[in-house]
């Protein structure tokens, strides 16, 4: 059974069809990519998956059950986590606190338990903190746990977003342009991290990326959106040579020039 199955998802803003009849199937432990020019509807599609938008049409099955109409926090509890294209950390909280918020759905302590500091609450908090430090180490931010999120360097903020997403123990991780604005070495490190997420933690990954080198080298499968529609899908090599994809990226007429 596929981990995620989107069928005919459509999202409309006023007159603009941002996502149109998109089908997408993701198998477990896969690294899938979603590419397409700016404004193609990729982020909007993510927002549909995570419950921030409710699609007008279509169905989304996660682990075999429909998640349409669930609240974002319920979807997170089911096992989908995400990062954002433009980093959205809780700036005035420390890195560790950000990750602790990420664990929110997995913690069970109650307000009364917190006031009375019951043994359960205390143990849970200790465990959560330990796990937060582990995650911090996993993404390579050891020692920066007590810095405010907004004071972290840009690249570290991206990593912290990944750690916060991991904290909710997701089965599926959605990464929205994780390497945007990074230099080649940082991009390299991010790719390495994504591999480790799958290989060591067994997390399935769907990412949006603009850097073709990243997409081509990392993905098991690539899906291309243009004007909200899926125009191609397949293995990286197949997609790379698809004339429709080249046209979508470079504009009509380009093909005529390069392939007379």
């Amino acid at each position: 059974m596929a981990l995620l199955e989107a069928r005919g998802v459509t999202k409309v803003f006023g007159g603009l069809v941002a996502v149109s009849q998109v089908d997408l199937t993701i198998e477990e432990r896969m690294i899938a990519s979603l590419i397409g020019p700016n404004g193609a509807g990729k982020t909007t599609f993510f927002n549909c998956l995570t419950g921030l938008y409710k699609p007008e049409e279509g169905d989304i099955l996660f682990d075999g059950r429909s998640i349409i109409g669930l609240r974002p926090d319920q979807i997170t509890a089911l096992g989908i986590a995400r990062t954002y294209q433009n980093i959205r950390l809780f700036g005035s909280m420390t890195a560790i606190e950000n990750i602790l918020v990420g664990q929110h759905v997995r913690l069970r302590s109650t307000p009364l338990g917190a006031i009375l500091q019951t043994p359960f609450t205390r143990r849970e908090e200790q465990r959560a903190e330990k796990r937060a430090r582990e995650l911090l180490a996993f993404v390579g931010l050891t020692g920066k746990g007590d810095m405010l999120a907004k004071n972290l360097p840009y690249g570290d903020q991206r990593l912290l977003e990944v750690a916060r997403a991991l904290a909710s123990d997701p089965k599926l991780l959605l990464l929205d342009e994780p390497a945007a604005g990074m230099n080649p070495r940082e991009t390299e490190a991010m790719m390495h991290l994504i591999h480790r997420l799958r290989n060591e933690l067994g997390i399935t990954i769907l990412l949006i990326e603009h850097d073709m080198k990243v997409v081509m080298s990392i993905s098991d499968r690539v899906t291309v959106l243009d004007y909200g529609k899926k125009i191609a899908e397949g293995r990286p090599e197949e997609v790379r040579n698809d004339p429709r994809v080249i046209e979508a990226y470079l504009g009509p007429g380009i093909l005529a020039e390069t392939h007379p």
Partner: protein
Amino acid sequence: MAVTTYSSTSVRFRQKTTTRWLVRGLGVLILALVAWRVVTVGLAEGYPATFWMSQLINGLVLGGVYALVALGYTLVYGILLMINFAHGDVMMIGGFTGFFALQFFMALGWLQGPAALVALALILIVAAGMFGSVLTGVTLERVAYRPLRGAPRLVPLISAIGASLFLQYSVLLIFGVSPRVYQKPALIEGGFRAGGVFVPYTGLIIFVTSLFLMLMLYLIVQRTKLGRAMRAVAEDKGTAALMGIDVDRVIVFTFILGSALAGAAGVMLGFHNTVVKFNSGFIPGLKAFTAAVLGGIGNIPGAMVGALLLGVIEAIGPSALGIPTEYKDIIAFTVLVLILIFRPSGLLGEVVSEKRA
């Protein structure tokens, strides 16, 4: 590297977002209850049609005044995205200034003179009220709001609450507790009958003046260069600044327009209620704000429609629902709460686009 994971808890949720339907259902239920109450209690009372007509007229007059104040809220909100909590008190200052002008013309004997002189005096009294309010409004903007531009939204709101209290209690300290009584000139005392319904002169004058001022505002916003600049700033401050618009100047101008309308409203409310007091701007201010929200805050025609509607609801409501008139303030607040809960964008406001993420 080892990362502890939680044993995956099985999580089950209800499929549909029931809350939305719950809220809608509640809204329909409330409307139905109100309708039922009106039919079984209000209409069963058997008031004559002329009674309802005169209530309607009362409501329209009050609504006209609310509209002037509501426009101030809406203009400022449209441009600064802040609720000028002190706007009602700006209106109250206008009421006081108008009162002193009234005393002055009374002393001059103009108000006992020929009709033309009385009319001129009345116009000057309204103008004085507008002047007082404009002075207050502009000072307020300069002292309490301008330094806070760009701060988190809670900060200017709190500052506005402070400013509101400051204005009220300064007036209390300076002018004392005793209310000031607006004496109507003999000429506009009384009224006439139209089809069995009594129409007071003051009511008619207030309503016509309100409409006239609203028309003026509309022309200023739509036809003048500054009005265009205002609309541009409301649309997008950054871009407007890039286009060479002096945003500060536009904001001051907005406060001038809003306060001028409030000042006129303050004077007219003085004539309508016959008194002004240090806190006589507070409740009308809240109601005008309600009216602005009712119509869709930031929306100029919305403020006018909302205000007239609120005025009428408030005038007719108690009799229609068969409840004591002491509850008329509760009606206004309830309308505010209900509107914000069920249709936060107001009657004429466009539906705010879905939140982005």
